[in-house]
């Protein structure tokens, strides 16, 4: 009896402790009728920082049949089928534990609290359980149209009359994704300005299609991606007399007086377009499904980096930095920093009137900042093409770019503000969670060369 009370107490304690277990897991639908396992593996590998196609997964796991099922665990040689546990281990060295049974509600909550995704094998297919909250299980079913759903645990056990029969617990710690993966897997490459959630183009802003034109306008857009796709964003606010090119938005679009969209406006819901006096769309207003983007998740480039702060005072000699990881750099006025081809990682970067000289002759220069980014500096191209500099901010703080920075800026999880001070000219691609372009700024589209 005492043991039963203790067990009940522990159970209740565990359930209350596990009140917040919802893990990141992107939805991938199966591309073939028997490929629920391939889509599921794609989701898990994606979580662990590897993006590969379902075809690549199936080519390795079921090489003798292009559209067949496989196992949660184990393998057969005739026909050649490898289980999910083997697939995850092969592609990303992910370890897992197989159980020939379902999990109790307490176990589901406990594993998720430990950050472990759960694969549930049922009579009619397989799911990923990625969340538990107050008796409700959140899961992803890879069948097109099903996707993410939430249901009471008791219902989940026997949904559609098919019982949960086997389980694979994904044991490997969820590693942070690389900065480059985060940025490059989530950035649309054809927009001059793009906000994942809210794009604000203030009065008189002009967005041009390239670095020289004054008659052709650049594309802008807004859209969103999450575990359960949120199709409804804060959309686009286009200021009075602003001129932009082809525009897409999953959220509402407000066109203030005399603003112009030069080209088509494509929206998820055309009824949420508001036009003030004189505002016009020169092309068609279309209703379409729109692409989603991914928000940023933690990065892992700072393991072992000395946590030192480097202060470079004004008017110092040119500093040559090699690609690599740095902690905190405060660089003052007129102190030039030369960067060559490669990836640079800063925890904090404070460029207070400094000059970044980019030598992109041997390839692109990518600068990633994960903590705080302050920029009131200047960027010049010392050598190489001018479409080979990218500054990616992976933190969440509102970030102001108040200097001359002709290059691509990506801030997938932050509010990026351009043109608040005197610098009003930008040439590159500007993508952020929220993006504000202040009045009378000029943005020119020059896509970053990712390769």
């Amino acid at each position: 009896m005492k043991q039963a009370f203790l067990s009940l107490f522990l159970s209740l304690t565990l359930l209350s402790q596990s009140w917040g277990a919802t893990l990141f897991a992107p939805v991938h639908y199966q591309e073939r009728s028997n490929w629920d396992w391939a889509a599921l593996c794609q989701t898990i590998l994606d979580v662990y920082g590897l993006y590969i196609t379902q075809t690549e997964i199936a080519t390795w796991a079921t090489p003798t049949n292009t559209n067949t099922g496989t196992y949660v665990s184990g393998f057969t040689t005739v026909p050649d089928r490898k289980g999910i546990d083997l697939i995850l281990a092969h592609f990303k060295n992910i370890s897992s534990t197989y159980l020939a049974r379902s999990l109790s509600e307490i176990e589901v909550a406990s594993y998720l609290t430990q950050g472990k995704l759960i694969v549930a094998g049922k009579g009619n297919g397989i799911d990923i359980i990625y969340g538990y909250r107050a008796g409700y299980v959140s899961s992803i079913t890879p069948w097109p149209g099903f996707g993410a759903s939430a249901l009471p645990y008791s219902t989940y056990l026997n949904e559609y009359g098919y019982s949960w029969q086997e389980t694979l617990i994904i044991d490997s710690p969820r590693t942070a994704r690389s900065s480059r993966y985060i940025v490059e897997s989530s950035v649309p490459r054809t927009y001059a300005t793009f906000a994942v959630d809210k794009l604000t183009i203030n009065d008189g802003v002009k967005v041009y299609a390239n670095a020289t034109t004054t008659t052709s306008y650049g594309s802008i857009g807004s859209g969103w991606y999450n575990t359960i796709p949120n199709l409804f964003t804060n959309g686009i606010n286009l200021g009075a007399n602003a001129y932009v090119g082809t525009t897409t938005s999953t959220g509402p679009v407000l066109m203030r007086s005399n603003s112009v969209i030069n080209g088509n406006l494509t929206m998820l819901n055309t009824s949420t377009l508001t036009k003030q006096a004189g505002a016009r769309v020169t092309g068609s207003t279309l209703q379409q499904n729109l692409p989603y983007l991914q928000p940023a998740f933690g990065t892992n480039e700072f393991a072992g980096v000395a946590q030192t702060t480097v202060n470079i005072e004004p008017d110092k000699a040119r500093l040559y930095l090699s690609p690599g990881s740095y902690w905190i750099y405060n660089i003052k006025q007129r102190s030039p920093v030369r960067l060559r081809a490669g990836d640079y990682f800063f925890k904090d970067l404070n460029c207070d009137g400094c000059t970044f000289e980019v030598d992109a002759s041997a390839g692109p220069v990518r600068v990633y900042v994960s903590g705080t980014l302050l920029w009131t500096g200047t960027l010049v191209y010392a050598a190489g093409a001018t479409n080979r500099f990218m500054l990616a901010y992976l933190g969440k703080e509102t970030t102001y770019i108040n200097g001359y920075l002709d290059g691509t800026i990506i801030a997938p999880d932050a509010h990026l503000v351009l043109g608040q001070a005197s610098a009003k000219n930008y040439t590159g691609m500007y993508v952020a969670r929220d993006l504000t372009v202040h009045q009378y700024s000029v943005v020119r589209f020059r896509p970053f060369t990712f390769e």
């Binding site: 009140w19 919802t22 069948w143 149209g145 939430a150």
Partner: protein
């Protein structure tokens, strides 16, 4: 005497078949439960905003359309439109809420609704083809028996107008 009347009334309510919660009521009660969780943990149901309400229950069939649906998909309406679907099923003679989700299917159904408005008298039913693992919709009010595939565009943009042409069932 008064107590007797109450007892008789209660007994009558318990014994009559319509005292059992109907799918609309089950769906409404279930949505309230989900809304409570969503209020405390918005990351679990990011689309389920305060004030969400239920739209029409859409008959939902597996493989073939029967006379009496044993499942419904209820459109969950927020201030931003049809955000999700709530599935209710008749299990052991009891209507029971099953799950909330189907975000992409909800979006496609709202596009079907635009092509075939309820206000103009078109109802729709959803059919899940368990062999092909695909969804279809049918409009019973048109002359020809029809079954049109629902296409999930994913990253490929597709025009809304895709649902204005129905597929005759014979051609499916």
């Amino acid at each position: 005497m008064k107590h007797q009347a109450i007892l008789i009334a209660v007994a009558f309510l318990i014994s009559t078949p319509w005292s059992q919660p109907m799918p609309d009521q089950v769906a409404a009660n279930s949505l309230q439960g989900y809304l409570q969780v969503a209020e405390e943990a918005p990351e679990v149901f990011p689309l389920l905003t305060k004030g969400a309400s239920l739209g029409v229950g859409i008959p939902y069939f597996a493989d073939s359309v029967g006379d009496q649906p044993t499942e419904y998909l209820y459109e969950v309406q927020t201030n931003l439109g049809t955000a999700m679907l709530l599935r209710v099923a008749l299990i052991n003679d009891l209507w029971q809420a099953q799950e909330i989700g189907f975000v992409d299917l909800a979006r496609e159904i709202s596009l079907v609704r635009e092509a075939w408005p309820l206000q103009k008298g078109y109802s729709i039913s959803i059919i899940l083809n368990t062999q092909e693992k695909g969804f279809y919709f049918t409009i019973p009010e048109v002359e020809i028996e029809n079954q049109t595939p629902i296409v999930f565009a994913g990253l490929d943009s597709k025009l809304v107008q895709k649902y204005s042409q129905l597929t005759p069932k014979a051609e499916k």
